[in-house]
């Protein structure tokens, strides 16, 4: 069995892991390793060949592979070890148990960063009735088959869910010669970003069916049709208004779940809402030597946010490994009216910088005021012309306000006009 010793070990060499690794190195960690189960770094960005990445971080529009390559190059230049085709199995105290072609590998670390990303929800998660033919894919699986393996997935396609990946695949399939018959969304509003609706659906005349769902799949060897029905305000399908759409393919773009099996082996508990660990502003979990960042923590819409958040994880993990991360009293951050969740879930009062709170609202609305307060004192406030659950929002609490806080921080959204 091989054994290694690192100051900071990172699980996952996608955008979160790469940014965390570079930052850990820049902040004084001498020995940094990235553990990656794929054959190369880059994670899911390798299959996201569309443009739209990096507008915030690099100030230019890149494709996913280009964004990933910039960070992979930085990591290589910084002298970070990359262990590919290596799967992390278990966290045993300060040892990460992995396996690769050389056998079992033990990686002893000063600090560990979890950056495993997320998985797609599948047909099994939704329990869609019907037969079990081939031709039912998650949108990301179809994306991988087309963009990496060069396969065709189908000719006549219905997409369930208006998440960003689903809309992007609607455009990709259309340009590849397939007919996308509809994008079906259970909610009365779009799940993904508005710009993807315009550039991926409207540009190609692909219909978006809001407040609809798929209630049946037919076909023996291959999908032959799906049945689509409108839903009432309680999301119950109206069976008498159902229609059958002939198609050979159903793509599912119905949400992502952080991939936290490894996290739970360390005894870190998961939030029921985000399905990720709870962290403080240092991206530190309840186990002080374990940090988490990116989609394994909470599902992001922009990779630019993932990179920024992961840089914090890298910085503070490096500090922890050196014994230089002081911790003080912890204050809880709670989602209040109009807010689904807030990350980080706690704020450590020994803050050495301003604290960014990331969160999602519950409903699309116009003229929204976002407020973070503690015991009646407003810590941060922002007015926005429009907000939607599909876009993550941020409030920043100034560092000088943190030491004096007592009680809990609550974030709320006040809307002048609720849409849908």
């Amino acid at each position: 069995m091989k054994e290694y010793l690192y100051d900071v070990a990172i699980v996952g060499a996608g955008p979160a892991g790469l940014a965390a690794a570079v930052s850990a190195k820049q902040n004084g960690a001498e020995r940094v390793v990235l553990i990656e189960r794929d054959i190369r770094a880059g994670g899911i960005l390798q299959q996201c060949i569309h443009a739209g990445f990096g507008l915030q971080y690099f100030g230019e529009e890149l494709t996913g592979p280009e964004y990933a390559e910039r960070f992979a190059d930085k990591a290589a230049e910084a002298g970070i070890d990359l262990m590919t085709e290596t799967t992390a199995l278990e966290i045993r105290e300060k040892t990460l148990v992995c396996v690769n072609t050389s056998g079992v590998v033990h990686i002893h670390f000063g600090a560990l960063i979890l950056a495993m990303g997320c998985r797609e929800r599948t047909r099994a998660n939704l329990v869609i009735p019907g037969s079990r033919p081939s031709g039912v894919y998650t949108a990301g699986t179809a994306q991988k088959l087309i963009n990496i393996y060069g396969n065709k997935v189908g000719k006549e396609v219905v997409i369930l869910g208006s998440g960003d990946i689903g809309m992007i695949m609607a455009r990709r399939l259309t340009l590849e010669g397939a007919k996308v018959k509809a994008v079906v969304e259970l909610m009365p509003f779009l799940a993904g970003l508005q710009r993807n609706k315009v550039q991926c659906l409207d540009d190609f005349g692909i219909p978006l069916m809001l407040s609809h769902t798929v209630i049946n799949i037919t076909g023996v060897d291959r999908v032959e049709s799906v049945t689509v029905a409108p839903v009432d305000e309680n999301k119950r399908p109206l069976l008498d208004k159902a229609e059958v759409i002939p198609c050979d393919t159903l793509l599912l773009s119905v949400g992502l779940i952080p991939e936290n099996e490894l996290t739970t082996t360390a005894g870190v508990s998961l939030s029921g809402i985000t399905k990720g660990a709870s962290v403080n502003q240092f991206m530190q979990t309840e186990i002080p030597y374990i940090f988490a960042c990116g989609n394994v923590l909470h599902v992001n819409d922009l990779v630019d946010n993932v990179s920024r958040e992961s840089e914090k994880a890298g910085k503070y993990a490096a500090k922890y490994a050196k014994g230089a991360l002081t911790s003080g009293e912890s204050i809880e951050v709670k989602p209040g009216q109009g807010i689904r969740y807030v990350c980080p879930q706690t704020v450590d009062k020994s803050a050495d910088a301003d604290v960014d709170l990331f969160f999602r609202t519950v409903v699309p609305a116009r003229e929204t005021t976002l407020v973070a307060s503690c015991n009646g004192e407003v810590l941060a406030r922002k007015k926005l012309a429009a907000t939607t659950p599909g876009a993550m929002e941020k409030l920043t609490i100034p560092q000088d306000k943190i030491a004096g806080l007592c009680g809990e921080i609550v974030v709320i959204a006040e809307h002048k006009e609720v849409l849908a």
Binding site: I39, R40, Q46, I49, H50, A51, E61, T63, G64, P65, E66, E69, I146, N147, I148, Y149, G150, L175, E176, G177, L193, Q194, R195, K197, V198, Q199, D202, D203, L384, A385, A386, T387, T388, A391
Partner: protein, 122 residues
């Protein structure tokens, strides 16, 4: 002429109505800010999009090389570009940024590779 545009410049997603007789005479209504004015005018007269796709590559660890146009191209040329990229097969090694098709379909814009792929050893 009258055209309805959903502005994508910022998250507001305004539904903007453009009424125009020529490029120099465009009246916009429904926009909550000025940031998308140029975008909306372009959408009326010369809508452009960055084209992304993938082309076949031999000898690499994956079968497809992601590609993009180095600048946005006219929106109505997206399907023609999709046909054009089917004619190309690259060979590894290839580097991010290398030209795959120069001046694709006379647009003055190059189609470039988006990933560095080494030659697969085995």
């Amino acid at each position: 002429m009258k055209k309805t545009i959903i502005c994508t410049v910022c998250p507001n997603g305004c539904e903007v109505v453009a009424e125009y007789t020529s490029k120099d005479d465009v009246q916009l209504s429904g926009n909550r800010c000025k940031r998308g004015v140029e975008y909306c005018i372009n959408e009326c007269f010369d809508p452009k999009r960055t084209f992304t796709s993938s082309v076949a590559i031999k000898g690499a660890s994956r079968r497809r090389m992601p590609v993009r146009t180095s600048a946005p191209i006219p929106k109505d040329m997206l399907f023609a570009c999709a046909e054009e990229v089917k004619k190309v097969t690259l060979s590894a090694p290839a580097v991010c940024g290398q030209t795959v098709i120069a001046d694709i379909l006379g647009t003055g814009v190059d189609l470039v590779a988006c990933m560095s792929l080494d030659k697969k050893e085995d």
